[in-house]
Amino acid sequence: MHLIPSEVDLGGVFLPPLLIAGLLGVVLASLTALLLNRFRLSRFFAYPPLVFLALAVIYTVAVGSFVVPA
C-alpha cells in the first residue's frame, strides 16, 4: 500500500485526496447514523448532530490515513 498522498485521477480529472476522504467519511458517518437510528441506539447520545460530526471527522481521518492517503 502506498501511503503517499496523491491526486485521484478520474478520467483525466484530478481530485484532491482529502476531498475523496471527506466524501467517504460523510458517507460512512451517514451509514453509521442510519444503523444507529434503525436499532434505536441514537437515544443514548446527548446530542446526535455532534456525534455525526465527530464520526465524519474520525472516518475522514481513518480513510485519509489508510485508504486514500490525504
Partner: protein, 722 residues
C-alpha cells in the same frame, strides 16, 4: 394534465428563453444569463401569474439596487461592517417574507444584494454599471416571457381564478349539506372529513391567483376590492363551517328537528343561497334573493332539556346565525361583482391584527436560521482558502436559506442535493460536450430551446416547480452563455462542489442556533400552543371593573394569535415527522392529533368570545366558585400538557369532566330555581348558556385531544435521533 397544455407551457418557456438570450447577446450585455434566470424563475402557466411574479422580481431588484450601492459606498474598505449590514438587511427581508403572500418580492430584494455586490468584482469600480445591468436584464427577462405568454397560446389567469372560486363555492355548498346531515345523524364522518380537506385544498393559494387575475384582466382589476372581500368571505365561511362541525358531538344528543322546527327551512335557504352564489359566479342572474332567517327554539322542548344540552343548543344556534350572516354578505359581494345588485357591499372586518403576527416567535426563529447560514457562508468565504466559486457559494447559500427558513422550513436540506447534482450534471454536459461545437446563434438558440423545453416538459406538474426552477437555473448559470464565450470544466466542477457545501451549511443551521428537527419543532409548537391556551383561559377570570393595560392587551393578542395559528403550523410539521419518531404508528394519528388541536383552538376562541358577553350579577355570585374551579382545572391541564404531552390522559380527563358536568348541572339547577325574574333576564340566561356551552366545549375538545394524544408514543418522539 392534458399533454398539449404540458407541451405549450414548455414551448413558451423555451421560446421566451431564446428571445431573452437573443436580445441580451445582440445588445452585447454582459452576464446575459441574468435575463435567462428571470425567465427560468418567473415563467409560469398563466399570463397573469407570470407577470405577477416578474413584477415582484423587478420590484425586489429595484429595491436591492440602491441598497447595494449604499452598502458599497458606505463600507468600501471595511469588509466586516459591510457583511454585518448586508446580513442584517437580508435578515430583515427574510423577516418580511413571512408576513406576506407576496414573499417573492422580499426574496428578490434580499438575495439580489450579495449577487450585485459580488458581481461587480472586488474593486467596486464597476458596481454602478453592474447593478444597472442587472436591472436591465431582469426587466428584459420579464418583457420577453410576457410577450411570449401574451402572443403564443395565451392562458387567461382570470378565467382560472374564477373557475377556482366557483369550485370552492360549490364544494362549500356540498360541505354545508353534509354537515347539516351530520349534525343530526352522525353518519358519514369520513366523507365529511374528505370534503373538508377538498375545501381547504381549493382555498389554498386563492389570494395569489387573485393577484395574477388582477394583473391579467381589466374586469377583475376593476372589481378587485369586491373580489378580495369575496375570497375573504369564502375563507371565513370555511372557518365558520368547521367551527359549526366541532359542536356536533354535543348537539347529536338533541332532537334538533323538533327542538328547532325551522332548522329544515334554514338549511334549505342556505343551500339555495350558496346555489345562487354559484349561479352568479357562472355569470347567470340570481333567481332568488336571500331571505332573512332566524332559527328559533321551541320553548317547551327547550325547557325539557338539561342545562348543558340547552347550552349546546344555544351554541349551535349561534353558529347557524354566523353562517347566515356570512352567506348573506357573500351573496351581496358576488352580486356586486357580477352587477346583479346594488354596489353597497360592506367591507368584511379584518380578523388578523398585525402586531401579534409581527411578533410571531417562529418568524424570528426562521430569521435566526437564515442569519446563521449567511454568516457561516461569509466566514467560510474569508477563512477557507481558495473556496471554489465563491460568488455562487454566497448567492446560493443566501437564496436557499431564505427559501428554506420561511417557505418550507419543514423540508430537509439534503433533499435538494440530489436534484441539484443531477441538474449540474445535465447542464455541465451541455456546457462541456455540446456547446464547444456550436458556431453561431442559430445553433445556440436551438440548444437553449431544446434544453429548456426538456426541463419544462419533464417538470410540468405544479408540485415539481422546485425541480423545474433548479434545473433551469443550473442550466443558465453553468452554460454561461456570453458573446465572449468560454468553456470551463472547472466551473462545472466548482459548482458541483459548492452545492454540497451549501447543503452542509443548511444542515448545520437545522440544529444551530435553533433546532429545526421536525420532532423538536412539533413539540415546541405544541408546548407553545398549550401555554397560550392556558394564558387565554387565565385571562377570562372574573375581574369586574378591571381595565386591561396596553401590555396586557398585547400579551392577550399574541397568545390569541398563537392559539389561532399554531394548529396550522402543526399540520405542516406533522407529515415531516420521521417514521422512526412515530414508532411505526400510521401518520394519520398525528393528523388526527392536529385536527383535535384545531378543534380545541376553535373552542378556546369561542370561550373568549362568550366571556365578552355581560353576565347577571346574581348568577356570577352564585356560580363564581364552581366556574372558577372549572376554569382552574382546564388551565392546570393545559399547563401540564404543555410541560409533558403524555399528561393528557383520556380516561382520567373523561371521568373528571363527567363529574364536573354532573355537579354543575345540579348547581345551575339550584341557582336558577332560587332566582327571581328580576335577578336573571332572558338575555342574561342566553349569555349564561353561551358561557356554559363554551366551557363545556373547551372541556370536551380537551378530552378529545387527550384521546388522540394517548395514541402517540411521546417518549419515542422525544428521543435523541440523528
Amino acid at each position: 394534465m392534458d399533454p398539449s397544455i404540458r407541451f405549450k407551457a414548455a414551448f413558451k418557456t423555451a421560446l421566451a428563453m431564446v428571445v431573452a438570450y437573443g436580445i441580451a447577446l445582440s445588445m452585447d450585455w454582459h452576464n446575459p444569463y441574468w435575463a435567462g434566470l428571470t425567465v427560468a424563475m418567473c415563467s409560469l402557466s398563466g399570463v397573469g401569474e407570470s407577470l405577477r411574479k416578474g413584477l415582484l422580481r423587478v420590484s425586489g431588484t429595484l429595491i436591492a439596487i440602491p441598497v447595494t450601492l449604499t452598502l458599497l459606498a458606505s463600507f468600501p474598505q471595511d469588509r466586516w461592517l459591510f457583511m454585518l449590514f448586508m446580513s442584517i438587511y437580508i435578515a430583515f427581508c427574510t423577516y418580511m417574507m413571512a408576513g406576506t403572500f407576496r414573499y417573492y418580492f422580499w426574496i428578490c430584494a434580499g438575495f439580489s444584494v450579495p449577487i450585485l455586490a459580488l458581481a461587480g468584482g472586488p474593486e467596486g469600480l464597476n458596481a454602478f454599471e453592474t447593478v444597472i445591468l442587472r436591472g436591465q436584464e431582469t426587466s428584459l427577462g420579464v418583457v420577453a416571457y410576457s410577450l411570449v405568454h401574451i402572443l403564443v397560446w395565451p392562458v387567461d389567469s382570470a378565467s382560472a381564478f374564477e373557475q377556482r372560486v366557483r369550485e370552492l363555492a360549490a364544494t362549500q355548498r356540498e360541505l354545508f349539506g353534509r354537515y347539516g346531515a351530520l349534525a343530526t345523524d352522525g353518519s358519514d364522518v369520513e366523507g365529511a372529513e374528505a370534503l373538508s380537506a377538498r375545501v381547504t385544498q381549493a382555498a389554498a393559494g386563492l389570494r395569489e391567483q387573485l393577484d395574477a387575475a388582477v394583473i391579467d384582466s381589466y374586469q377583475v382589476w376593476e372589481t378587485r376590492h369586491a373580489w378580495r372581500r369575496c375570497t375573504s368571505g369564502l375563507t371565513r365561511l370555511t372557518d365558520a363551517l368547521e367551527r359549526w362541525s366541532h359542536g356536533f358531538e354535543e348537539t347529536r344528543e338533541l332532537d334538533l328537528p323538533h327542538l328547532m322546527p325551522g332548522y329544515g327551512t334554514f338549511q334549505a335557504e342556505i343551500d339555495r343561497r350558496l346555489d345562487q352564489i354559484g349561479r352568479m359566479l357562472a355569470g347567470q342572474a340570481p333567481t332568488a334573493r336571500p331571505v332573512a332567517q332566524e332559527p328559533r327554539f321551541e320553548a317547551e322542548r327547550l325547557s325539557e332539556l338539561s342545562h348543558f344540552h340547552r347550552a349546546a343548543a344555544f351554541l349551535f344556534r349561534e353558529r347557524l346565525e354566523e353562517i347566515d350572516q356570512l352567506t348573506q354578505e357573500l351573496f351581496a359581494t358576488v352580486a356586486d361583482i357580477r352587477g346583479f345588485g346594488p354596489a353597497t357591499v360592506r367591507a368584511l372586518p379584518s380578523t388578523t391584527p398585525a402586531l401579534p403576527a409581527a411578533l410571531d416567535a417562529e418568524r424570528f426563529a426562521g430569521v435566526a436560521r437564515q442569519f446563521a447560514t449567511t454568516w457561516l457562508a461569509l466566514l467560510a468565504l474569508i477563512y477557507i482558502p481558495d473556496l471554489p466559486a465563491s460568488t455562487a457559494f454566497i448567492c446560493i447559500a443566501v437564496s436557499l436559506s431564505m427559501m428554506i427558513a420561511v417557505i418550507m422550513p419543514q423540508i430537509r436540506a439534503t433533499l435538494v442535493l440530489v436534484p441539484g447534482l443531477v441538474a449540474v450534471a445535465f447542464a455541465g454536459s451541455i456546457h462541456v460536450l455540446i456547446m464547444p461545437h456550436l458556431s453561431g446563434f442559430a445553433g445556440l438558440s436551438l440548444l437553449i430551446f431544446a434544453a429548456v423545453f426538456i426541463i419544462g416538459y419533464l417538470f410540468h406538474q405544479p408540485q415539481q416547480i422546485v425541480g423545474k426552477s433548479v434545473g433551469l437555473a443550473m442550466f443558465v448559470v453553468l452554460a454561461s452563455i456570453d458573446n465572449a464565450q468560454q468553456y470551463s470544466f472547472l466551473k462545472v466542477a466548482n459548482v458541483a462542489l459548492v452545492l454540497p457545501l451549501v447543503i452542509m451549511l443548511l444542515a448545520i443551521t437545522t440544529y444551530f442556533p435553533i433546532s429545526f428537527r421536525p420532532e423538536d419543532v412539533f413539540l415546541r409548537l405544541l408546548r407553545r400552543f398549550f401555554r397560550s391556551a392556558a394564558f387565554l383561559t387565565e385571562s377570562i377570570r372574573w375581574r369586574p371593573g378591571h381595565v386591561p393595560t396596553r401590555l396586557e392587551r398585547l400579551r392577550l393578542a399574541i397568545h390569541a394569535h398563537n392559539v389561532a395559528t399554531l394548529p396550522g403550523k402543526l399540520a405542516v410539521w406533522g407529515p415531516a415527522l420521521p417514521p422512526a419518531a412515530l414508532g411505526g404508528a400510521p401518520p394519520g394519528q398525528v393528523q388526527a392529533l392536529v385536527t383535535s388541536a384545531q378543534a380545541l383552538a376553535h373552542r378556546v376562541q369561542d370561550l373568549l368570545k362568550a366571556r365578552d358577553h355581560p353576565q347577571a350579577e346574581f348568577l356570577v355570585r352564585e356560580l363564581l366558585d364552581d366556574m372558577r374551579s372549572w376554569r382552574l382545572g382546564i388551565q392546570t391541564r393545559f399547563l401540564s400538557i404543555a410541560e409533558a404531552p403524555e399528561a393528557a390522559e383520556f380516561v382520567s380527563f373523561r371521568e373528571k369532566l363527567d363529574a364536573v358536568l354532573g355537579r354543575l348541572e345540579t348547581r345551575v339547577e339550584q341557582t336558577l330555581d332560587s332566582a327571581s325574574e328580576t335577578d336573571v333576564s332572558a338575555a342574561d340566561g342566553d349569555n349564561m348558556y353561551r358561557l356554559l356551552g363554551a366551557y363545556r366545549g373547551v372541556s370536551e375538545a380537551l378530552v378529545a385531544y387527550a384521546r388522540r394524544a394517548s395514541e402517540i408514543d411521546w417518549p419515542r418522539l422525544r428521543e435523541a435521533r440523528f
